[in-house]
Symmetry: C2
Subunit: 419 residues, 2 copies
């Protein structure tokens, strides 16, 4: 059982007990953007904590915490952020008086989450999206290619991925307009232009990197997790009709880059350690040596997607889990750099849609409604084949198990506005 508790009140169902301590960027009417750590329904202001002297003898400067993004803090590397997190655990531990009993310090350091605005946690140098859930790849292959050979020949040999657009990644809570675009609904007629009619979400998680190696130097499987800072929820919004017409032969472009939604709190790998699990056997076919897993690198994180219409009650349309990935994060990062490609601190690498084997675990409306053939019945009597104007899509994620702390991710929410 978790003996460790905090003197900060943490509701039992909170995503953010002292065992989590995710990092984010917040501001209030009185505080400019800066680094914070979530605990219960409070935020620990790391700038204030540093100014009051609680972060001495750690490899950080005040500038790292008063930055409007996590990049300077992340740039200090894994050992440094781990030491910082360990210090925070001590400071917040119910059994230690150091900060607990300094009432006027506590008042300067804690900010209610309800009073804060959250911001995109990192300045994203490059964003990569993988395609690493076997069930998702199979579902797409069955729908659009050959049901008997749903997986393409390369899929089990390498983590297929592509570069996405960094500029249009927004923090949870940012509304997005339905995109206009070119599509060809009738293959016998010329293409048309207008608002996307097949707007979809994709349930993903994303990891954020530490600064990697110089251009030309690969990161090995053994090293990969040393370059992974933490994870967020990630909605890779997709306009299926735009995507279908444009994506051959160079991949998704305008069907994706109108916006992606990221949750504001970055949960560290250290916090997720109790939920580390082995992944699937990768023996049929065997993966090449540079991608072979020698220690468990998957994580057991429950995920859910809720659609909340403008005026009606919401409905959970998907319950999935990060464990359904075929390729884990270490494999993704190793593959990404095996050709010498360099990674910078704050780069984002997303999982691809995380679908499980059962229909209730499919991570996109494309799969849930099976290309529109099986509409989802909403509580208000309406149906959803894809996302409608006024819908809010909310991704949530949480690792929990009896006897283990709840390590939650908060949510990644986005409202779709009319085109």
């Amino acid at each position: 059982m978790n003996e460790l508790t905090s003197w900060v009140a943490v509701p039992a169902d909170s995503d953010f007990p002292i065992q989590n301590l995710p990092f984010g960027i917040f501001s209030t009417s009185e505080r400019t953007k800066r680094v914070g750590v979530a605990i219960g329904d409070q935020i620990v202001d790391l700038k204030a904590l540093h100014m009051l002297g609680y972060l001495e003898n750690l490899p950080f400067t005040l500038a790292d915490f008063e930055a409007p993004v996590l990049n300077p803090m992340i740039a200090r590397g894994k050992q440094a952020t781990r030491e910082l997190r360990n210090r925070l655990v001590k400071l917040l531990d119910a059994s230690r008086p150091d900060l607990r009993d300094k009432e006027h310090h506590v008042g300067q350091i804690l900010v209610p989450q309800s009073e804060a605005a959250m911001h995109l946690p990192v300045e994203i140098g490059d964003y990569t999206d993988f395609y690493s859930s076997e069930d998702h790849a199979r579902n797409v292959g069955k729908m659009f290619r050959d049901p008997e050979n749903a997986l393409l020949p390369n899929w089990k040999h390498l983590p297929v991925g592509y570069h996405g657009r960094a500029s249009s990644i927004v923090v949870s809570g940012t509304p997005l307009k339905r995109p206009h675009g070119q599509m060809r609904p009738d293959p016998a007629a010329p293409p048309t232009f207008g608002p996307s009619r097949l707007l979809d979400f994709e349930l993903e998680m994303a990891f954020i990197t530490y600064p990697g190696k110089p251009l030309g130097d690969p990161i090995s499987m053994a090293e990969a997790e040393d370059y992974i800072f933490g994870l967020t929820l990630f909605n890779d919004w997709s306009a299926r009709d735009i995507q279908a017409w444009e994506y051959v032969p160079l991949g998704p472009f305008l069907g994706k880059n109108f916006g992606s939604t990221m949750s504001p709190w970055v949960v560290t790998l250290d916090a997720l350690e109790p939920y580390r699990i082995p992944g699937p056997d990768q023996v049929d076919p065997p993966v090449l040596p540079y991608l072979q897993v020698t220690s468990p690198g998957h994580f057991d994180v429950d995920l859910a997607v809720e659609i909340v219409p403008e005026s009606g009650p919401g409905a959970v349309v998907c319950r999935s889990n990060l464990k359904h990935m075929y390729w884990n994060m270490a494999q993704q990062l190793t593959h990404h750099t095996v050709n010498g490609c360099n990674v910078r601190g704050g780069d984002v690498m997303a999982s691809g849609t995380i679908s499980g084997p059962e229909p209730g675990s499919f991570g996109s409306m494309l799969e849930i409604s099976w290309r529109g053939s099986k509409p989802f019945a909403m509580p208000d009597g309406s149906e959803r084949k894809f996302i409608q104007d006024g819908d809010t899509v909310r991704l949530t994620g949480c690792a929990s198990a009896p006897g283990k702390p709840r390590i939650g991710f908060g949510s990644a929410e986005g409202l779709i506005l009319p085109a």
Copy 2:
């Protein structure tokens, strides 16, 4: 004829007469990275020029010119950089004494290019690569798909593009290692891992953007050029064997992102104005209204590619021209933002391989050697199907015509090191 000349000596064959004035980032042993403008074989130090008071009453601060990238200067927008360029023309005009006759100022302001190191001109937020040369797309289609239907159905309806990797774009002169990667040379056998055997260049040009509109607001054809700062040469190095195995269905990834080479001097659209020409008729099929060209948006720029082996003389393997593009830059930017995708100052959008209709104008070894079936004979007796270790690939570009100033781009060079 050009009456305008500069009091700075400009050799007749220089890429950089007073009519060009491209912007770049340079440093010397005595000067930190800063903004410079090329003229003849000199660089005008804009930080020094500002400090000496020559840039007064322009919408720039000293910080814009002592930045290690052009982004702060570009962020001031098109009208501002145009006014700056006009001021520089006046200051460098042979008929004006303002700067010409201030000998000790001239000494502080001019730096020989031979004494300076050039750097990547911009911090690149996002890099997009298009695929806009019809001859290149046809050649690839003939080789890998159907010779009778070489162009895919979408190709003449939209400028096909994809997101590339910003982190691995390097300035001319930066050596790159031959990438390792996964490939499947024998489709009947499992994939293999090793150094790429089919390393290629791609002759491209790239444009650099001003800050665009907020997320959700498209840029129209009428507005597009107001958001384009200037152009460089661009080598989109490609590992064909890695690319061939990985790219289905999500596009190029590790076959490209091990490195791309950019020339250091950014030539403004204003400098290229004398070389503006109409593009191809786009009536079969007609393009959708949002992409229709109403005024000439193509440019006539001669391009060449030279391969220089480690110990032997070099050979020009390609002479092409930017005019061979089907889609122009305004169309690329308009399409890119039509779904609301936002563009930041310093983003890079490359043309795709620029091939002309004749074999001598093909812009990649893939096309020049026609998949390796027609090796190129080098002066030293060796052959090239693809790029060998120790080869330097040099892209050059220049607009010139009788009675018009020569507007050159310098070069984008890269040496390939062993894997």
